[in-house]
């Protein structure tokens, strides 16, 4: 089982500690995405797995073997770099063959491997070209090809799509996902883009400030963020977070009474942050909804949906609603309705999610 295991991994540069004890198990064939804002330590963590950064403390196991002191080339991992690092003086075939030649794979075997991989990636017609003569998407594929031909135990991706334009990024994202389904190689993928994380990951690891905030499937993280950071990081537009207090029956934000599901166990009066995802509100009242009066600021049509920018008290809030092909009914919106089951409650000080009911 070619899993990756990190236990208490710490990275220091001199006296500055940038990764504070990461614990993570990546299962065989799993696709794990490390996501977080820049400087959160996700790339450093990936580079420690690759062997490009020394591990200051802790243990890294790949396929059950301790790798801390093993050179990158002997870890049997392959990496796709943000800038691809394609050798500009070599053509596509030679770029893919580079690692195989260094490892002295027999020539005919190299040729077969290259042509098979090129076929998978749709690069067969481009094998003689230099990287400079390729489009962004093709370069991206060559970079992946160079990793694939080695048949490594683990793929590492360091923000591989961030150099592509939005359209190509969507397309290549799907290709990476398909490729993973096909090859089934354990993958660790670093990105700052939460959409990539949501779409690609079996499990997402949200990192912040050198620590793991939460690990879980995309839907777990989306539905049950453990704190305001995760809540704000995943989802687009991000969750609305408003200051309020718990009451005997629910919660209060300014003048609005909000129904929540679950009892508060006598925590009434506690300062909390109330989180509501933009897409969870409705314009019509429902069975278990509360009213939030708003001042509508701006309507941004996106086509089938529209973003409503509004103000509630001192808070700027944003909601997403369906247009049904028409914006006219949105111009006069003065209130939205919040389903009780969708309301998230976080502690005002720690930002941690409060479990409701129980």
């Amino acid at each position: 089982m070619a899993g990756v295991s990190l236990s208490n991994i710490i990275k220091r540069y001199g006296a500055v500690q940038v990764v504070h004890g990461i614990n993570l198990e990546v299962a065989e064939k799993e696709f794990v995405v490390l996501v977080g804002p820049s400087g959160c330590g996700k790339s450093t963590t990936l580079r420690m797995i690759a062997g490009l950064e020394e591990i200051s403390e802790g243990d890294l196991l790949i396929d059950e073997r301790r790798m801390n002191r093993v050179a990158p080339k002997d870890r049997d991992v392959a990496m796709v770099f943000q800038n691809y690092a394609l050798y500009p003086h070599l053509n596509v075939a030679d770029n893919m063959a580079f690692g195989l030649r260094i490892r002295r794979m027999p020539k005919d075997q190299i040729a077969t491997t290259i042509s098979e991989t090129a076929a998978i990636l749709g690069l067969t017609d481009y094998l003689e070209r230099r990287p400079a003569d390729l489009s962004g998407g093709q370069r991206q594929r060559v970079a992946m090809g160079r990793a694939i031909v080695r048949h490594p135990k683990v793929f590492l991706f360091d923000e591989p799509l961030s150099n592509l334009d939005a359209k190509l990024r969507t397309q290549m994202r799907a290709e990476i996902k398909r490729l993973h389904n096909r090859l089934g190689v354990t993958s660790v993928y670093v990105t700052h883009d939460q959409v990539e994380a949501m779409t690609l990951a079996d499990r997402i690891v949200v990192m912040n400030d050198g620590r793991i905030e939460q690990v879980g499937t995309p839907m777990e993280l989306f539905n049950n963020p453990v704190n305001t950071f995760v809540a704000g990081f995943l989802g687009s537009p991000p969750m609305n977070q408003m200051k309020g207090q718990l009451t005997e029956t629910g919660a209060r934000i300014g003048s609005a009474e909000i129904k929540i599901s679950g009892a508060m166990n006598g925590d009434a009066g506690r300062d909390v942050i109330i989180g509501i995802r933009p897409e969870h509100v409705t314009l019509e009242p429902g069975a278990q909804t509360s009213v939030l009066p708003i001042e509508l600021d701006l309507v941004e049509p996106l086509g089938s949906e529209a973003l409503l920018h509004a103000r509630f008290g001192d808070d700027n809030v944003m909601f997403k609603t369906e247009t049904h092909g028409d914006l006219s009914h949105l111009s006069g919106v003065a209130e939205v309705h919040i389903p009780a089951s969708r309301v998230k409650i976080f502690d005002a000080e720690t930002g941690n999610a409060l479990s409701l009911g129980g």
């Binding site: 208490n8 299962a27 403390e57 243990d59 499990r203 499937t217 995309p218 009911g357």
Partner: protein, 331 residues
């Protein structure tokens, strides 16, 4: 009230241990990691070693040999075995008229180089910038860069031939105006003009490359907005180009000042003769004659040391200035 989600990854979930209990197996010590580093990177040190050894043998060992400036050096006793004499050589030097004259000449030649030689490549670069015809510009540049690649022996040969008293082109031209032939290279008053002029002829073109690059780095929209504002080329040169390349000009000026003690003595040796020593002899040529031709190694080494220390102080000062007045330092 965690909501239930049956996702495709549920099975993977079951296999995975959630965040492990904190218990590092063991951590590697500093020595172990240092050993690992050398085990992994020894090749880098192998690559570096020849260069470092070369510097030690050919550049640092002579610095050790500089101690003869304070010794009564004899070839037989060697550098280490010769007896110390303290500042004796320096006292001799500073009471030696020829040496003092050489310092004076060094500074005078450098000053002339600075006054006439420094602006030349800047003016040339500004003029090249005004040339629209790319082909003419390229050809002219190719030609004016060329003398930089010609050896000083040849340069001196050309100068000697051109300034020859009989048949040399300079005297031929003077003859057209009825001026009597001058044996330029034996006349002390002519040495410095010829030397500095030769330097400009040889290096002005090549020196303009740096300024041309600086000019090329000026944001073109500055010129476009100046055109819209009705400026002419002359005004653009003064109001845009020159202010924009000022940092480069300053840095090059500072480098020049830092190198005041470095007159290209190779060319001096090739052009001067005893008759012109009074204006031509610089510190390094004096060192060459005293040391390598007359064998007074210790005295000559002392003169060389003096020159090197002054040059070092000048360069360091220059770099500090450059760091202070522009964002770039020289290294």
């Amino acid at each position: 009230m965690v909501e239930e989600h049956s996702t495709a990854t549920q099975s993977i979930q079951d296999n995975v241990l959630q965040a492990r209990e904190a218990a590092p197996l063991h951590s590697d010590g500093k020595m172990v990691r240092l050993l690992d580093h050398f085990k992994r990177e020894w090749q880098l040190y192998v690559m570096l070693a020849p260069t470092i050894i070369w510097f030690l043998v050919f550049l640092y060992k002579p610095m050790y040999g500089l101690q003869i400036a304070f010794k009564d050096y004899s070839i037989f006793r060697g550098v280490a075995g010769s007896p110390w004499v303290g500042w004796e050589h320096f006292e001799t030097l500073f009471s030696n008229d020829q040496f003092l004259r050489a310092i004076g000449n060094t500074i005078k030649i450098s000053a002339l180089n600075l006054i006439f030689g420094f602006p030349a490549p800047i003016i040339l670069a500004l003029m090249f910038n005004e040339i629209l015809n790319a082909r003419f510009k390229k050809t002219a540049q190719t030609i004016v860069y060329l003398p930089h690649f010609i050896s000083s022996v040849i340069i001196a040969g050309i100068v000697i031939t051109a300034f020859a008293p009989t048949g040399g082109i300079v005297n031929v031209i003077l003859g057209w105006f009825g001026i009597d032939s001058i044996y330029f290279l034996t006349r002390p008053e002519w040495f410095r003009p010829i030397f500095v002029g030769t330097g400009i002829w040889q290096e002005a073109g090549f020196g303009s490359i740096v300024f041309l690059a600086a000019i090329a780095g000026v944001n073109p929209s500055l010129y476009e907005s100046a055109v819209v504002d009705g400026a002419n080329r002359w005004q653009m040169m003064w109001k845009i180009t020159i202010p924009s390349i000022m940092p480069t000009i300053l840095i090059m000026l500072i480098i020049r000042i830092g190198n005041i003690m470095e007159v290209s003595f190779e060319l001096v040796i090739l052009l001067y003769q005893p008759a012109t020593y009074s204006t031509a002899d610089v510190v390094n040529t004096w060192v060459y004659r005293q040391g390598l031709q007359s064998g007074q190694y210790d005295l000559a080494a002392a003169a060389g040391l003096f020159n090197a220390v002054v040059a070092f102080v000048l360069v360091m000062t220059a770099n500090t200035l450059s760091r202070r007045y522009s964002r770039t330092s020289l290294w």
